[in-house]
């Protein structure tokens, strides 16, 4: 990448006061950071305060942003590269993503909330994919147990569900 370009760093500060420095371009993956910088804030030494996101979660998000920024920069760098290499790189990144997101459920949940608040579409999608993967092929009750959700249907609604979808009876009970 352009060597002469000045290196601009941004600081993100988590709710528990930990701060993380990263390249501005990497931080721009977040729509929230983008908006903050656009209105002319956040470049100062105080950094950008990120509410409701702990240092532990934010550190993971920063790792994700750095990786994806580097991958995108590398892909830009050799734009003459052949299709095959591009596909291979993409596949590699996907594998990295899957490895990265292979987390315990509560951590995954925190990251999803964080990614959603920060507006990082790629990471939101990745978390959604992982959650979906955990729910695949499970019955309703298994999903409830797994995700800690309470059954809040009334008995009338329950009867309606049985009527609407008799073929999943076995999976809904």
């Amino acid at each position: 990448m352009a060597a002469g370009k000045p290196v601009v760093m941004v600081t993100l500060v988590s709710s528990d006061g930990q701060s993380f420095q990263l390249l501005e371009e990497a931080a721009l993956l977040s729509a929230m950071v983008r908006d903050t910088i656009q209105i002319g804030q956040g470049r100062g030494p105080a950094g950008i305060p990120i509410r409701n996101i702990t240092g532990q979660t934010l550190s993971m998000v920063v790792v994700y942003c750095n990786k994806h920024y580097t991958a995108a920069a590398a892909a830009d760098g050799d734009d003459a590269a052949d299709e095959e290499k591009k596909v291979a790189n993409k596949k590699q990144l996907r594998e990295w993503d899957e490895q990265f997101i292979n987390l315990e459920q509560d951590k995954l949940y925190d990251i999803l909330v964080a990614a959603n608040n920060l507006g990082i579409d790629g990471l939101v999608d990745l978390c959604c994919w992982r959650f979906a993967d955990m729910m695949k092929g499970k019955s309703a009750s298994e999903i409830r147990v797994k995700l800690g959700i309470r059954d809040d249907f009334t008995s009338e609604q329950r009867a309606q569900i049985e009527k609407d979808s008799p073929w999943v009876w076995s999976r809904t009970t």
């Binding site: 459920q105 509560d106 949940y109 999803l112 909330v113 959603n116 939101v124 999608d125 959604c128 994919w129 959650f131 979906a132 993967d133 729910m135 695949k136 092929g137 499970k138 019955s139 309703a140 298994e142 999903i143 409830r144 147990v145 995700l147 800690g148 959700i149 309470r150 059954d151 809040d152 249907f153 609604q157 569900i161 609407d164 979808s165 008799p166 073929w167 999943v168 009876w169 076995s170 999976r171 809904t172 009970t173």
Partner: protein, 636 residues
């Protein structure tokens, strides 16, 4: 909405309460349709998110159950993003056409359209201008349903973007003087064409018209036929020299040719394939896939007029072949088959059936070739022995191996296969293996997902613990233990005790299997005990000791995932009928039919699949996804 469940202090916050509905809907949209429908019964929040997801899903694939129109309609609300729709139409009639025909569709695949008339084709032509892929199975097969040439005409005129057309139906109902000419108006981007049965006269006329238009191209402006066609799959009365010659001339850009015949009378010299015909196949060397099959469905017959010379002539121009399938070449010997192996360096799928003269010598010097075979099928090759398979096992990339009815194969063959690192499907039906072979598999390292031992008569109950001694139970999903006389309830109990989360289990025609086996499977707990049996398919047809008592094990809540059940219907008609009523979406097969969704699909043999289709099978194997029937598709 609802507060988090106070189950344990460390439990994560309830997903439904803290996430925006849009995010939950995004999560749900990543699910397969059946799982999505299950989530709609989790809680109110999920229910509304699931029904929201149904309005923006880009694909709706539901082949596991055949829904009625009433049940289907609410699942297919207006959805401008819907591009791909796949359904089992077994319970749908013409009234549902409006539900199926949607403007934005790019792909439509419908199985079992027996009760839908030709109007479907007409409406598709009128509405779905963007359709790229259309696959219809047994349309209008119910007696008396109208379907005519004009329906086909409307379809071809209307769907101008079609790339892949697969009509698994009898084309004699489209017999019309204009049948050939209508194809000139078909989409120019048509690359793949698959017909069910087509009468020879219609086919030859079509090819003649296509040839004439090619030859006349420079002088007069004539319609162009099939400018981009690459793949052609047909079932005809007889594969003849004339037919091969016409296809080669009329469709020079083909890369994929798949012909099948099923003679009802012994073909005469003029209506049969000979060495001369094989010489005319693939004149430009473009073909990557050749499949020539003579089925013995009606008559015990084969390509009697083809010998090694024909195959040698064909192999000369076939250095680009990646996949070859030869069925019923009874006079071809090792010389012929070796010619293919040695001249097609890019070959990865090889299928030979009824190769009655194929011996171990075919694979004798396979190590000297650079072949990287992934799929090999050698059915009914009775001269093949363990030595040949040992040679074959030098191919470490083997993924699917079908050795059904190779009666001379024994334990040593399995020993040489047992360490293949990629072997996922192994079919050993009717081979001469004993428990020792399963011991080899049990301690081996194959990542087997599907294993068929049907009709291996030497096997006993002892083979079950031997098989599951090692890593096999981690991957195995499909197991066939049919027609093994010594398997008893004890064997099945050992199977249940191994807690292998099988998805499909076939054990039909076992005289000593009875109610205790069903009970053991019904009460089998996998994955921590919350699941109940993982089986989606269970075939107990003609098991000797099943009594009416077994039926109650199929009632709620046993076998919660079961969708296919094969059983002897005469067992107790009343009880079977009651079960059918209480589980309306369980497919019951009482007359000995083979089970599984794709089994009815005559197009589903793996050798026919192009790479895209095949990815699906691999996907299924890799994710353990719910696309059932991949194994049954091998049943033929």
């Amino acid at each position: 909405m609802s507060p988090p469940d106070p189950v344990e202090p460390s439990s994560p916050p309830a997903m439904d309460s803290a996430l925006p509905a849009a995010v939950v809907a995004t999560i749900l949209s990543h699910l397969d349709v059946l799982s999505l429908l299950a989530t709609s019964a989790v809680c109110r929040c999920f229910r509304s998110c699931a029904s929201h997801a149904l309005t923006f899903l880009s694909s709706f694939h539901l082949l596991e159950v055949a829904l009625t129109h009433e049940l289907l309609r609410p699942l297919l609300p207006p959805n401008p993003s819907l591009r791909s729709l796949r359904l089992d139409c077994n319970r749908l009639e013409d009234a549902a056409i409006g539900c199926l025909v949607r403007t934005g569709l790019h792909e439509l695949m419908l199985l079992n359209c027996d009760n839908i008339s030709g109007r479907l084709l007409r409406e598709l032509g009128a509405t779905c201008q963007d359709l790229r892929v259309l696959s219809l199975h047994s349309l209008a097969e119910r007696r008396g349903l109208p379907i005519s040439f004009s329906d086909l005409q409307e379809l071809l005129n209307g769907c101008s973007q079609l790339e892949c057309l697969r009509l698994a139906l009898d084309f004699s109902m489209f017999d019309d003087p204009n049948f050939s000419h209508v194809w000139a108006s078909a989409s120019e981007t048509l690359t793949s064409l698959e017909f069910g049965y087509i009468p020879m006269v219609m086919l030859l006329e079509l090819l003649t018209v296509a040839m004439e238009s090619q030859q006349a191209m420079h002088h007069v402006k004539t319609p162009v036929f099939f400018p981009s066609l690459q793949k052609l799959c047909l079932s005809v009365d007889f594969i003849t020299d004339h037919l091969i010659g016409s296809i080669s001339t009329a469709l020079p850009s083909l890369t994929h040719l798949d012909l099948q015949d099923a003679p009802i009378i012994e073909p005469t010299t003029s209506s049969d394939l000979t060495n001369a015909g094989l010489q005319r196949i693939n004149p430009n060397g473009n073909l990557k896939h050749i499949s020539l099959m003579r089925s013995q469905e009606f008559l015990f017959t084969s390509f009697r007029r083809v010998n090694d010379l024909g195959i040698l002539l064909m192999a000369e121009k076939c250095s680009n072949l990646e996949s070859v399938c030869l069925g019923g070449f009874s006079r071809v010997t090792d010389t012929g088959f070796r010619a293919i192996i040695h001249s097609c360096s890019g070959l990865h799928k090889l299928r030979v059936s009824h190769g009655s003269q194929l011996t171990d010598l075919v694979f004798h010097d396979i190590i000297a070739t650079s072949l990287c075979l992934t799929h090999v099928s050698l059915r009914w090759c009775n001269l093949l022995t363990d030595v040949g398979i040992e040679r074959l096992s030098f191919n470490k990339d083997l993924n699917i191996l079908d050795l059904r009815e190779c009666r001379s194969l024994g334990d040593e063959a399995v020993r040489s296969l047992s360490c293949l690192p990629k072997l996922q499907i192994l079919l050993l039906d009717g081979t001469d293996i004993s428990d020792q072979a399963l011991k080899y598999l049990g301690v081996g390292t194959c990542p087997l997902a599907s294993l068929s031992l049907r009709g291996c008569r030497k096997l006993t109950n002892d083979c079950i613990p031997l098989l599951f001694a090692g890593s096999v139970k981690q991957n195995l999903q499909v197991l066939d233990l049919s027609r093994i006389p010594s398997i008893t309830d004890d064997g099945i109990m050992l199977l249940a005790r191994s807690r292998t989360p099988l998805i499909e289990l076939r054990m039909r025609e076992n005289p000593k299997v009875g109610d205790a086996a069903v009970m053991a499977l019904a009460s089998m707990l996998v994955d921590g005990g919350t699941h109940g049996s993982s089986l989606q398919l269970l075939d107990l047809y003609d098991c000797g000791r099943i009594t009416p008592l077994a039926i109650r094990w199929f009632k709620k809540p046993y076998f919660p995932r079961l969708r296919w059940l094969g059983i002897t219907g005469s067992l107790n008609r009343v009880m079977v009928d009651a079960l059918v009523r209480s589980r309306p979406f369980l497919h019951m097969a009482c007359r000995g039919e083979e089970l599984g969704t794709l089994h009815w699909d005559t197009f589903s043999d793996w050798y026919r699949h192009n790479d895209d289709d095949f990815d699906e099978l691999e996907q299924w194997l890799l994710d353990g996804d719910l696309v059932s029937g991949a194994e049954t598709s091998l049943e033929e």
